[in-house]
């Protein structure tokens, strides 16, 4: 596992990269967000612009040709995009988690390091295939298995959802490590474009997050044996996939919630200007919204910092501890509840202006997108896990 590479990351460079992500979000992602939502289509304009700006290689260390952005910077990028278009932010958040899963566990594989060099150079976009018909959303269980024959592997997986699979360069797929292996004895497989076939098994027509284009699909992949990562998936999940996904998702939800609060503030500023000297009815609730948003921000970036520091110190003991698992799981529970609560309250306080689908203060898309947060690894599953962990964990 490589510590976070912060060597070249002067704060000015970081701020410039975040400003560029925010610009793409504001000028491109936001402009197409309603169309993406309405047509349930991929946010191709924003993703193309982010790719051209090198955002997908940002998590890759400089030694492989990337930027080596740490998890705090990556979370800031997700938050910036979350203000403008949830689908775009979700794609970037998921990609970052996938590429870091390779970055953190490439130490003993020269071929995987070569892959990272290619991924950095070409800004390859990676999608994940973790859910499966049967085990469902239980990421730590598979029924499909990799078959290795000499120097090559084959794998067929029936996934319940594959987000932006048809737009990704590469896929990262979980599977049992062989046909004899237990359901929890998993590996992570990197399938490159041209090495996999994705057969959609249904439509993606959902309440929100319509632009992620995540239908059920069957994946048939084959390639070289090195593409089956040697680090057990249990470790990749613990050290990388679970913490980064919860941090980056929470950052995106923070961005989404901020945009809802910003709309409420803008509306109330206008009300304030139209009747100076009188605080508009409902304005105290806008103040409460700002307070809730501040709590969310501190929790998201607090955990991002904690994770970045543990990575930089190569503190695997901390990352593998139940205490840290509990905190990361709790971040996901808290931020998914917060985004739903904040967007709902903003809708209520803005009234008809937000309830309308066709105005500048419309919050319908925000509300529909926010509700997906509960089921991206369902909160019921995470609560059950935390409840079990708390039976054996003694400290705070």
């Amino acid at each position: 596992m490589n510590p976070a590479n912060q060597d070249n990351a002067s704060q000015t460079d970081v701020d410039a990269r975040i400003a560029e992500i925010d610009r793409i979000g504001r000028e491109i992602a936001r402009m197409h967000a309603n169309d993406v939502d309405e047509k349930s289509r991929f946010p191709i304009e924003a993703i193309t612009a982010l790719k051209a700006a090198g955002i997908f290689s940002a998590p890759i260390p400089a030694e492989y040709g990337g930027v080596g952005a740490d998890p705090i910077e990556l979370a800031r990028g997700c938050a910036a995009l979350g203000q403008h278009c949830s689908a775009t932010a979700a794609v970037v958040a998921m990609h970052h988690t996938q590429i870091l899963s390779a970055v953190h566990h490439a130490k003993n594989s020269p071929q995987l390091q070569d892959y990272l060099r290619r991924a950095a150079k070409e800004n390859r976009l990676i999608a994940s295939v973790t859910s499966e018909v049967g085990p469902g959303g239980d990421m730590r269980s598979n029924s499909c298995a990799v078959e290795i024959d000499g120097d090559s592997y084959t794998l067929t997986k029936k996934a319940t959802t594959v987000s932006y699979g048809n737009y990704a360069d590469d896929l990262m797929i979980t599977a049992r490590k062989n046909s004899e292996a237990a359901s929890g004895d998993q590996v992570l497989v990197i399938a490159e474009k041209g090495q996999f076939e994705l057969q959609d098994q249904g439509a993606w027509d959902t309440l929100g997050m319509r632009g992620t284009c995540s239908p059920p699909a069957t994946v048939v992949a084959n390639g070289a044996a090195w593409q089956v990562m040697t680090t057990p998936f249990a470790d990749i999940a613990t050290y990388t996939m679970v913490p980064t996904s919860h941090i980056f998702w929470s950052a995106w939800w923070f961005g989404l919630a901020s945009d809802a609060v910003n709309k409420a503030r803008e509306l109330f500023r206008a009300k304030g200007r139209s009747n100076p000297g009188t605080t508009p009815m409902g304005a105290h609730r806008v103040a409460d919204l700002s307070a809730e948003l501040q709590k969310m921000e501190y929790e998201v970036f607090g955990l991002a910092r904690e994770y970045a520091e543990a990575l930089a110190a190569d503190d695997s003991q901390k990352l593998a501890s139940l205490a840290f698992s509990l905190r990361i799981n709790t971040l996901k529970l808290n931020s998914s509840r917060a985004v739903v609560a904040i967007v709902s309250e903003a809708l209520s306080v803005c009234g008809i202006q937000a309830y309308k689908n066709n105005g500048p203060f419309s919050l319908g898309r925000h509300l529909r997108d926010a509700h997906s947060s509960v089921m991206m690894i369902h909160n019921d599953r995470i609560q059950l896990t935390n409840a079990a962990l708390l039976l054996v964990h003694k400290g705070n």
Binding site: R140, S141, A181, A182, S183, G184, D185, P232, A234, T238, Q317, A320, S321, L322, A323, T385, A388, L389, L391, V392, H393, K394, G395
Partner: protein
């Protein structure tokens, strides 16, 4: 680590670990996770061991590698009993 500890560890694994094979057929160094023990089942194993041996694992020992084999578990329990 005594034979008695190993036998009692196996009793707990038999009821809690949800292994896909008979625990008595397992080598004491065999990977329990490879033998089917899930992360979720690990919590049951931890609680079962705390009950069986009347002890509490400190948080620093609640790690995957401490529970990865019969030997690792036995060593952990021995270290808490001395």
């Amino acid at each position: 680590m005594t034979i008695e500890i190993i036998a009692r560890v196996k009793t707990v694994l038999k009821t809690q670990a949800e292994l896909n094979q008979d625990v008595n057929g397992l080598d004491i160094d065999a990977d329990l996770f490879a033998a089917g023990m899930s992360s979720r089942a690990t919590v049951g194993v931890m609680l079962g061991l705390e009950s069986e041996f009347d002890l509490e694992f400190p948080d620093s020992m609640l790690r995957r590698d401490v529970f990865e084999s019969i030997r690792a578990i036995g060593n952990a329990i021995s270290s808490l009993q001395t």
